[in-house]
C-alpha cells in the first residue's frame, strides 16, 4: 500500500503553508484588539492495528488536527480551539478567543512567557523517527506478539496485541515573534492476555513505547513478559492487615514520583492546594536521593526543544541530596509565586535518578518480609494532604523470597512520610514514560486485606 507514503508527503506541503497561516493569524488577532496572542497547532497521523486470537481485530487510521489560540487584551485572557487548521477557520477561532477575553478579569500574572526566555535556537533532538511500516506489517508484529504471549496452556484467552505508530507535527507561535516547530514520532507495541485456573481468571499486560522503532523491546520479549506477568498472578490471595515494607515495581514506582511532581507543580502551589507548599530548600527525600530533569536526551519520549509557551528547556537538578531545588512552573504560576518559569508548561521532561547498583532481586532480599507491588488501581490520593490509599496487587515476600501472588489489598500512608521512607532504588530502569525509574523500596506502609 502506497497510501501511507502519500499521506506523509502531502503533510509536508501542508505544514509549509501553516507557518504563513499562523503568522497571518497573529497579525489578524493584533489588528482586532489583542495585545498579545499565542497559537499552537498540531497534526497527528498514523494508525493502530490490533490482533486478537490470531486474527486482525481492528485497524484504525488516525489523522487528528488541533488548533488552539489564546489572546490577551491587556491582562485579560481568552482561549478558543478547534480541529480545523484552514485559515478561514482560524480567524473564527481568534474572534471567539477575543470574545472570551472581553469577559475575563485583568490578572497581573497573566500573559505570554517573557520574550527573553523564548527558545531562539534549540538543539536537534532526533524526535522524528518514522517507522515506515504498513498496517499489514504491523499486524504481523501484533500477531507474533500475541502468539508468544499465548504459548502456555494456562493462557486461556486474550485481550489481544496492538501496534501503533503516530507522527505528530507541532507548531507554536506567539506575538513575541517566536515560531517554533518540530515533528516527533511515537511507536508502541502492547499485549494483554488472560490466564485461568480453578481460582478464576487473571489478566496482565506488557508494552513498549519509543520514538524510534529500533528502541522498542523485541516483539517476543513483550509477548513473553505479558505471558509471565499474567501467569504469575494465578492463584492469588488477599493478606491480613499489616504494616510492612513495600517494594514498587518500576511501572508503579513511577506513579509515586508522579504524585511528587504534581505536588510541586506551580498550579497547586499558588493555590495552597498541595502538601508540599513552601517546600523549596526543604529535605523531602532521604539524603542519598537526587532527581534531575533533562529535556534534551536524543529520541527520548519526554524530550522537547521548547515548552508549550515557547520557553527554552534546559537540564536542571530538581532534588539534590534529598533537598528540593526547584518547582515545576509555567509562566503564570511562576509569576503568582514571584519566580521564573522553569520551562514546564505542558509538563515535565525526562526525569532521572542516580544510577543504582541494586537489581530488583537485591531489593527483594533487602526487604525481607513485605509486599512486592506490581499494580496499583484507583485514585485514592489527596493532593492537598498527601494522604495516600490505593488498591494493589503483587506478591507476598518472606525472608527475601517471593512466596505467592496477592490481590484485593490496599496500600496506605501519607506521601510526605512515604518520600522520606524510600530506602533504595533499583537498576531495573524503565524509560517508557517521562520518569526513568527502577523499582523503589519503601519502609513500613499500612497494607489492608480481607484475609482473617
Amino acid at each position: 500500500m502506497s497510501k501511507h507514503e502519500t499521506v506523509t508527503a502531502a503533510s509536508t506541503t501542508e505544514t509549509k503553508e501553516i507557518e504563513e497561516v499562523i503568522t497571518d493569524a497573529i497579525q489578524y488577532a493584533k489588528k482586532h484588539g489583542a495585545d498579545h496572542v499565542e497559537i499552537s497547532a498540531r497534526n497527528d497521523k498514523g494508525f493502530s492495528v490490533s490482533a486478537r486470537l490470531g486474527d486482525i481485530e481492528t485497524l484504525e487510521h488516525h489523522n487528528q488536527r488541533a488548533l488552539a489560540v489564546t489572546v490577551y487584551r491587556g491582562k485579560a485572557k481568552g482561549s478558543a480551539n478547534c480541529n480545523d487548521i484552514r485559515s478561514s477557520a482560524i480567524n473564527d477561532v481568534i474572534d471567539a478567543a477575543l470574545g472570551m477575553a472581553s469577559f475575563t478579569a485583568e490578572d497581573e500574572a497573566s500573559g505570554l512567557a517573557d520574550a527573553e526566555l523564548m527558545a531562539t535556537n534549540y538543539p536537534e533532538l532526533d524526535l522524528d523517527q518514522p517507522w515506515g511500516i504498513q498496517p499489514d506489517q504491523a499486524l504481523q508484529i501484533a500477531m507474533q506478539c500475541e502468539q508468544t504471549a499465548r504459548a502456555d496452556e494456562r493462557i486461556v484467552n486474550s485481550e489481544g496485541a496492538s501496534v501503533s505508530t503516530i507522527r505528530s507535527e507541532a507548531i507554536y507561535a506567539n506575538s513575541h515573534d517566536f515560531l517554533g516547530r518540530y515533528t516527533s514520532t511515537r511507536h508502541s507495541i502492547s499485549c494483554s492476555v488472560v490466564a485461568a485456573d480453578k481460582q478464576g481468571m487473571q489478566r496482565d499486560y506488557w508494552y513498549s513505547v519509543a520514538r524510534d522503532a529500533d528502541e522498542l523491546d523485541a516483539v517476543d520479549i513483550i509477548g513473553l513478559k505479558a505471558r509471565e506477568r499474567t501467569l504469575r498472578r494465578l492463584n492469588a490471595r488477599s493478606l491480613s492487615t499489616c504494616e510492612v515494607p513495600v517494594l514498587f515495581e518500576p511501572n508503579v514506582a513511577r506513579s509515586i514520583l508522579g504524585h511528587f511532581f504534581s505536588a510541586i507543580n506551580g498550579g497547586s502551589l499558588y493555590r495552597d492546594a498541595s502538601f508540599l507548599t513552601d517546600s523549596l530548600g526543604q529535605k523531602i527525600f532521604p539524603e542519598w536521593l537526587s532527581i534531575s530533569e533533562d529535556p534534551h536526551i536524543k529520541t527520548a519520549l519526554a524530550s522537547s526543544p521548547f515548552d508549550a509557551e515557547g520557553v527554552r528547556t534546559q537540564a536542571r537538578d530538581i532534588v539534590s541530596d534529598g533537598v528540593l531545588q526547584g518547582y515545576i512552573l509555567a509562566s503564570y504560576s511562576a509569576r503568582k509565586l514571584g519566580m521564573t518559569t522553569t520551562g514546564n508548561s505542558g509538563g515535565i521532561h525526562n526525569i532521572r535518578l542516580p544510577e543504582s547498583e541494586y537489581s530488583q532481586d537485591d531489593l527483594i532480599k533487602q526487604m525481607g518480609n513485605g509486599v512486592l507491588v506490581t499494580e496499583l488501581i484507583g485514585n485514592g490520593v489527596n493532593p492537598v494532604t498527601g494522604d495516600y490509599s490505593r488498591g494493589a496487587a503483587g506478591f507476598w515476600v518472606e525472608n527475601g523470597e517471593i512466596q505467592y501472588p496477592v490481590q484485593e489489598i490496599t496500600i496506605a500512608g501519607n506521601l510526605k512520610e512515604m518520600f522520606q521512607r524510600i530506602k533504595a532504588i533499583g537498576n531495573d530502569v524503565d524509560t517508557c514514560g517521562g520518569i526513568h525509574l527502577g523499582s523503589m523500596l519503601m519502609d513500613q506502609l499500612t497494607v489492608a486485606g480481607s484475609a482473617e
Partner: protein
C-alpha cells in the same frame, strides 16, 4: 424542527452533502466480506468558564466537527475519520476503513429509513439562556457564598462548562438517525484551613439541560455550602481504619460502587470475549435477595441519558441484576450481533474520532425498605462513607476499588467521628452478595460522573439507596 433536520442543516448542508451521498459512501464500503458499515457525523461546541482567586480567570470556547467511518467484517473492524466533512474526505475514509477485509464490487444499499429517538431533553443550545454576565455572576455568587460560609475557607475554585452536540448516524442497513444533545456542568471546590491543616471539599451538578437550571433551582448556593461543609468535616477527620469491616454507603453518588463492581463487568464486549469475571453467569445469583440493578438511558435530562446511542439505537432501561440474579449485559451492535442478541442502546463513543463500544448510561440500584437511620443503628462497628472520588476495576479478576472522600466511624449504632478518605477494595461478583440491608432512599447523583474506558471518556450517571455491606476491605492507615 426534528433532530434529523437540525443534523442535516449543521453537518451536511455546509458542504452540500445530501442523504444520497451518505448512501454512496456506505455502498462503496459494502460488498465482499464487509457485513456492515456506519458513518458518524458529529459537531460539538463547548464553552468553559472558571473562577479562581476570586476573579474570572479563564474562558474558553471550542468547536470540533468531523466524521468517523466504520466497516465491520465478522469480529474485524476497520476505522478511519476526517475533520473535513465533504465527499472526497468521506470516500477516502471509507476506502481506508474497508481495507480491513478483501475488496470486491460494491453492492446496493437498502433504502433509507429514519430512526426517531426519544425526547428526553431539549434540542436548544444551553449557552444562550444566560448572557455572559449572568454566567459570570453564577461563578462569583458561588465564590461569595463559599467564602462567607466560614472564615476557614481559604481557596475557592468554580467552573461552569456547557456543551452542545449534534450527531448524525447513517448505517448500511439504511438507518438514518440524529440526536441533538445539550450538557452542562457546574463545579465548586474549596480548601479550608485550620491550625495549619488544609482540607478540601467539592460539589457540583449538571445534566442535559441549560444554564437556566442553575438559577431556577437555586442550586449554586447548595453546591457552595456543601463543598464548604465537606472541607470542614475533613478538618476534623482522624486517620481511617485498615481492614475488613461492615461498611454503610450513603445514597446517590456512592453508587459508583455499582459502576465499578458490576457495571463494567456486565458490558457486552468483555462478556462476548469471555474476559469478564461475570462471563457466562446469566441466571446465576450474583447479589443478595432484594438487589435489583438497572442501566437506564431514558431518564429525562440526566447526564448519562441519550435519546439514541451513538449507533442510532434508541436507549432503554436494561435490567442487569433482578432480585440478586444476573439477568443481562449491556450491548452495542457489534457485540450483540456476535453474541446472538440485540443492542441494548449502550453503543457509545467519545467522538467521531473514536470507535463505539458498550458503555453505561445511568446505572443504579432500586430502593429497598429500610430507613437509613435503622441501617446505621444496626451496625456495632463499621465505616460509613457518604462521598466518593472515583473508582477503577480489573474486569478479569473482578477486583474493584472506589475511594471515599468523606467518611465516619459507626460505633454501637451511632455515627461517632469523621475519618480521612480511604480506598475500599472488593471483589465484583462477591460484593453484592454481602449486601444485608437496602435503604428506602434511592437517589441519583447530581450529574457529575465521567467514565473512562480504553482511553475514551463519556458522561454517565450512578445512583443507589443507602446500603449496608457486610465486609469490604477499607484501606486506611490504622491497622
Amino acid at each position: 424542527m426534528e433532530s434529523i433536520d437540525v443534523a442535516r442543516a449543521q453537518l451536511l448542508s455546509p458542504t452540500g452533502l445530501v442523504d444520497e451521498d451518505l448512501n454512496k459512501a456506505l455502498s462503496t464500503i459494502l460488498g465482499g466480506a464487509i457485513d456492515t458499515a456506519d458513518l458518524y457525523f458529529q459537531s460539538q461546541v463547548r464553552e468553559a468558564w472558571s473562577l479562581d482567586d476570586g476573579i474570572i480567570k479563564d474562558a474558553s470556547y471550542s468547536r470540533q466537527r468531523g466524521v468517523g467511518v466504520r466497516a465491520i467484517a465478522g469480529e474485524k473492524t476497520g476505522f478511519a475519520y476526517s475533520d473535513d466533512i465533504e465527499m472526497s474526505a468521506l470516500l477516502e475514509s471509507a476506502c481506508a476503513a474497508r481495507s480491513i477485509a478483501k475488496a470486491s464490487n460494491s453492492i446496493v444499499m437498502p433504502s433509507q429509513h429514519i430512526q426517531t429517538g426519544r425526547e428526553l431533553y431539549s434540542q436548544d443550545s444551553p449557552f444562550a439562556t444566560l448572557n455572559e454576565h449572568q454566567k459570570m455572576d453564577l461563578l462569583r455568587q458561588a465564590d461569595e457564598i463559599a467564602r462567607q460560609a466560614d472564615p476557614r475557607v481559604k481557596q475557592v475554585m468554580v467552573s461552569l462548562v456547557g456543551m452542545h452536540e449534534v450527531v448524525l448516524i447513517a448505517r448500511s442497513d439504511g438507518l438514518l438517525a440524529a440526536d441533538v444533545r445539550p450538557l452542562v456542568r457546574f463545579n465548586i471546590s474549596v480548601i479550608a484551613e485550620q491550625n495549619g491543616r488544609r482540607e478540601q471539599g467539592s460539589m457540583g451538578g449538571g445534566g442535559r439541560f441549560d444554564y437556566q437550571h442553575f438559577t431556577d433551582e437555586n442550586s449554586i448556593e447548595g453546591f457552595a455550602k456543601e463543598a464548604v461543609r465537606q472541607a470542614l468535616v475533613n478538618l476534623e477527620a482522624k486517620d481511617a481504619p485498615a481492614g475488613k469491616m461492615t461498611v454503610v454507603l450513603g445514597p446517590g453518588w456512592p453508587g459508583v460502587l455499582l459502576h465499578e463492581a458490576v457495571g463494567h463487568g456486565l458490558e457486552g464486549d468483555f462478556n462476548r470475549k469471555e474476559t469478564s469475571a461475570f462471563s457466562g453467569r446469566i441466571g446465576e445469583r450474583v447479589a443478595s435477595t432484594g438487589v435489583t440493578v438497572v442501566d437506564d438511558g431514558t431518564i429525562e435530562n440526566r447526564r448519562g441519558s441519550l435519546n439514541l446511542d451513538d449507533e442510532g439505537t434508541p436507549t432503554q432501561c436494561t435490567t442487569l441484576i433482578e432480585d440478586g440474579i444476573l439477568r443481562g449485559y449491556m450491548q452495542d451492535r457489534l457485540n450483540a450481533q456476535l453474541s446472538g442478541t440485540v443492542s441494548t442502546g449502550n453503543g457509545r463513543r467519545e467522538s467521531y474520532a473514536h470507535l463505539p463500544m458498550p458503555r453505561m448510561t445511568n446505572t443504579y440500584m432500586l430502593a429497598g425498605e429500610h430507613a437509613p437511620e435503622d441501617i446505621i443503628a444496626s451496625v456495632d462497628h463499621g465505616f460509613y462513607a457518604v462521598n466518593f472520588g472515583g473508582g477503577q476495576v480489573d474486569i478479569t479478576s473482578g477486583k474493584f476499588v472506589f475511594s471515599a472522600s468523606e467518611a465516619y466511624m459507626i460505633e454501637n449504632g451511632k455515627i461517632t467521628y469523621p475519618v480521612k478518605g480511604a480506598t475500599l477494595i472488593g471483589d465484583g461478583p462477591d460484593v453484592l452478595t454481602r449486601v444485608s440491608m437496602i435503604g428506602n432512599d434511592l437517589e441519583l447523583d447530581s450529574g457529575i460522573g465521567t467514565c473512562g474506558k480504553e482511553g475514551q471518556s463519556v458522561p454517565v450517571g450512578v445512583g443507589q439507596p443507602t446500603l449496608k455491606v457486610d465486609g469490604i476491605t477499607v484501606g486506611g492507615t490504622q491497622a
